[in-house]
């Protein structure tokens, strides 16, 4: 990494320290709690899958059965009942799933010997986590085999037809055009479903349902292109919303490579309860960490809802918090794709210099992190010609500051979901610029008292001031008072609060225990 902005190291350290102090009390709360989706994610890791005739997934059925028997039993964890049913019925997980989908109630069986349950559970932990470990090894092998074949930064493209089979065509074409990462954007409002739909889907609004079968279908298609192109094509989805950890579990089992996953996005932008979100994000991140999945955080959203120039410090503050919550869940820096965006009003004088300053600042403060850089969207209009130029400026900044993951802007942003040719034009544009300025990053320095350097210092100072304020009142209160993104979220408000579970003294979750142990989380 090249130092160009001369940011004082002690100030950066201080900002990190503040973020750590802000996250710590939240961490204590998280560790005392589970949630319905954490329990369902655990069931999924153990092999619970399928759905009943009404489309209610088996993991939901099991949690609902425990809750219906006695809500107080949730505090012991739900996996114990599933394992108990496996032992008592002598069935395989697949057979038991089918039986549950047909109406069998796991609570109809008395709880058997604890040591037998523990032994059986350990067997399933070894199986479930073993499969994830194999996936990780396979990815590492392919990345090694096709070493140096990916673009730098990684070119990231979105498909969003609503139909997984149509998505496959678009994704294959996008990968062949040069994309390194394919994200299948989710159908509108999936984030607010407190279950994950089952099976392959062909209907969605503005995107495609995230289901395990859809993950499998897309993974197989991209593996095919990987071999043809001799370039490992990564697959991305969204471990966000009310089912964060379940989607992380599904992604880990089906070898996704990246997950959109933010510690506060759901609270601020989807009105999901804050306690629920903090609990869910940690378990989801532990799974992502174990699976070697790079998370992408959602700081770009701060800039699309507020002014990108004035609120630049909220991005850095959020990145620092996401980093701490990531560390707490066992994610190393190289899996932390912290987000930021090129969203300033194009009419601002010297806007390009400010964007360059902020992107370089992120690079220097997070040297090992694969930063996820997002393209202009807010000021994209129907003028596709202007839009293409704005995307070009964005491409330039990204390469010139050595970003990690580059989400390609579409010239038709704000008009329609991308046409196949829109993606081609985007890749072509990025490849031209990035090849043309290949060594710009290594070759260029900034004037010590110039606009770029001064801007970065200013943003860091504002970030510290902001974090001091948050630290003084605590994160929960800060969110309640609207310090982030100008939205106020009451502590007990928002969606999913009723799904929060206080862990009891007998809480049983060997998956969590094993993950913590292997990830070295205290």
């Amino acid at each position: 990494m090249r130092i160009k902005l001369h940011l004082p190291k002690d100030r950066i350290d201080y900002a990190r320290q503040l973020a750590k102090q802000i996250a710590a009390p939240v961490g204590a709360f998280i560790d005392a709690h589970s949630s319905v989706t954490v329990e369902r994610a655990t069931l999924r890791l153990a092999g619970a899958d399928g759905a009943n005739a009404d489309g209610v997934p088996v993991p939901n059925l099991v949690v609902d059965q425990v809750k219906a028997a006695d809500p107080a039993l949730l505090e012991d964890g739900v996996i114990i009942r599933y394992i108990n049913a496996l032992i008592k019925t002598g069935l395989s997980t697949q057979e038991l799933n089918k039986k549950i989908a047909e109406g069998f109630n796991v609570m109809s069986l008395p709880l058997g010997d604890r040591s037998a349950i523990e032994a059986k559970c350990n067997e399933l932990v070894a199986q479930g986590l073993g499969k994830i470990k194999d996936n990780r090894a396979y990815r590492d092998k392919k990345l090694e085999e096709f070493h140096d074949r990916n673009n730098k930064p990684l070119l990231y493209l979105i498909v969003a037809t609503g139909n997984i089979y149509e998505d496959v065509k678009q994704a294959k074409a996008a990968a062949k055009q040069g994309a390194d990462v394919i994200a299948v954007i989710r159908t509108t409002a999936q984030s607010l479903l407190d279950y994950v739909p089952y099976g392959a889907t062909t209907e969605g609004f503005g995107g495609t349902y995230a289901t395990q079968e859809n993950f499998r279908i897309m993974r197989a298609a991209l593996d095919e292109v990987t071999e043809q192109e001799k370039r490992y094509i990564m697959l991305t989805n969204y471990a966000s919303g009310l089912c964060m950890p379940e989607i992380a579990a599904m992604g880990a089992l089906e070898r996704l490579d990246m997950m959109l996953n933010d510690s506060m996005y759901g609270i601020l932008f989807r009105d999901i309860n804050m306690y629920r979100t903090f609990v869910d994000q940690k378990f989801s991140r532990m799974i992502n960490a174990y699976a070697g999945i790079i998370i992408n955080t959602g700081e770009d959203n701060y800039l699309t809802t507020s002014d990108a120039y004035e609120k630049a410090y909220t991005v850095l503050a959020s990145q620092l918090l996401n980093e701490q919550f990531g560390f707490m869940a066992g994610l190393p820096a190289r899996l932390l794709g912290l987000g930021h965006a090129f969203e300033m009003d194009p009419s601002i004088k010297n806007g390009f210099l400010y964007e360059l300053a902020q992107a370089q600042m992120a690079r220097e403060i997070f040297p090992e992190h694969p930063l996820k850089y997002m393209p202009p969207t807010k000021f994209m209009s129907g003028d596709i010609f202007k839009g293409l130029v704005m995307d070009s400026m964005f491409n330039f900044v990204s390469k010139a500051t050595n970003q990690g993951i580059h989400l390609l802007g579409m010239l038709t942003e704000a008009i329609h979901t991308p046409f196949m040719m829109d993606r081609y034009i985007a890749v072509d544009n990025a490849k031209y610029i990035m090849n043309n300025i290949e060594d710009f990053y290594d070759d260029i320095e900034f004037r010590k008292d110039g606009i770029i350097v001064r801007r970065a210092h200013e943003v860091l100072d504002k970030t510290i001031k902001f974090l001091e304020e948050v630290q003084a009142i605590g994160l929960f209160d800060a969110i309640e008072r609207g310090l982030f993104a100008d939205v106020k979220r009451p502590k007990d408000g928002g969606k999913g609060f009723e799904g929060l579970i206080k862990k009891g003294p007998q809480y049983f979750n060997p998956f969590e225990k094993q993950l913590k142990q292997e990830l070295n989380i205290k």
Binding site: G162, T188, T305, D307, S381, M421, V487
Partner: protein
């Protein structure tokens, strides 16, 4: 009668720039297919100036065509609220002080499953968009932005609670006509509750036209390029008009 054709660099040359994708491989046959297709659309000349493969099965074309088709400009009517007459923020506030003499209450939301706040934020948030302040900044307007994914029912309940004068419904996602479904449901709910006449109802979104909105029972629809001033002007003038009518 005023006949018009597209303009390249000479009046009535009828030049048109096109780009599209075909589900065939790139190559001489693909280019010829593109040319024939453009001619089949009625263009008199066609030049394929660029082609490129998008994958093994798809190809991309940039094409110039010449069209002799003309229309009579005098017969053209626009499906847009006339925004040229919109007052500025200060003028709107002054208009309210003079003619309405109380604060105007506006409630807005992006309804249904639509998660995009960008449209409603551009109109309502303090900051506004493109140097046009949003309604929250208007001293004479009390603005409530309920955000995205708000059920129609909840939006109406809230509007009743705060005694709103106007309700803004934003719809960005139009895939599978969800916006039409949402907008229809909104009006039907209002009518079922016998509340339709109580509010000025305005729809907005990049693909919302005034004609469509009025057809669905709204007072107006605002599309791309609309700012808070345009919406505010419509609301205050309509309020005065309603007061005079009653």
């Amino acid at each position: 009668m005023k006949l018009i054709r597209t303009y390249g660099d000479t009046l009535d040359d009828g030049k048109v720039q096109l780009s599209f994708t075909l589900p065939v491989p790139d190559g001489a046959r693909g280019r010829e297919a593109a040319r024939k297709l453009v001619l089949a659309w009625g263009f008199k000349e066609c030049e394929v100036v660029h082609s490129a493969p998008l994958s093994e099965e798809f190809s991309f074309y940039v094409v110039y065509g010449k069209s002799e088709t003309a229309i009579d400009f005098d017969t053209v009517e626009a499906d847009e609220i006339d925004k040229d007459a919109s007052m500025s923020m200060d003028e709107v506030n002054e208009f309210i002080r003079q003619h309405i003499k109380r604060k105007v209450v506006v409630v807005g939301a992006c309804t249904g499953f639509d998660a995009h706040t960008v449209g409603i934020d551009a109109i309502m948030n303090m900051k506004g968009y493109n140097h046009h302040y949003g309604l929250e900044r208007y001293p004479e307007i009390e603005a409530y932005n309920l955000g995205a994914q708000v059920p129609n029912e909840k939006l109406i309940d809230f509007a009743v609670k705060v005694k709103a004068d106007a309700i803004l419904v934003s719809q960005v996602v139009t895939q599978k006509d969800t916006h039409i479904h949402n907008m229809t449901e909104f009006i039907e709910l209002l009518e079922a509750k016998n509340l339709r006449d109580r509010f000025i109802c305005i729809a907005g979104g990049p693909r919302i036209g005034n004609k469509l909105a009025v057809e669905l029972g709204f007072d107006a629809g605002f599309g791309r390029g609309t700012y808070a001033d345009d919406v505010a002007t419509f609301i205050v003038k309509k309020l005065v008009e309603k007061a005079q009518a009653s």
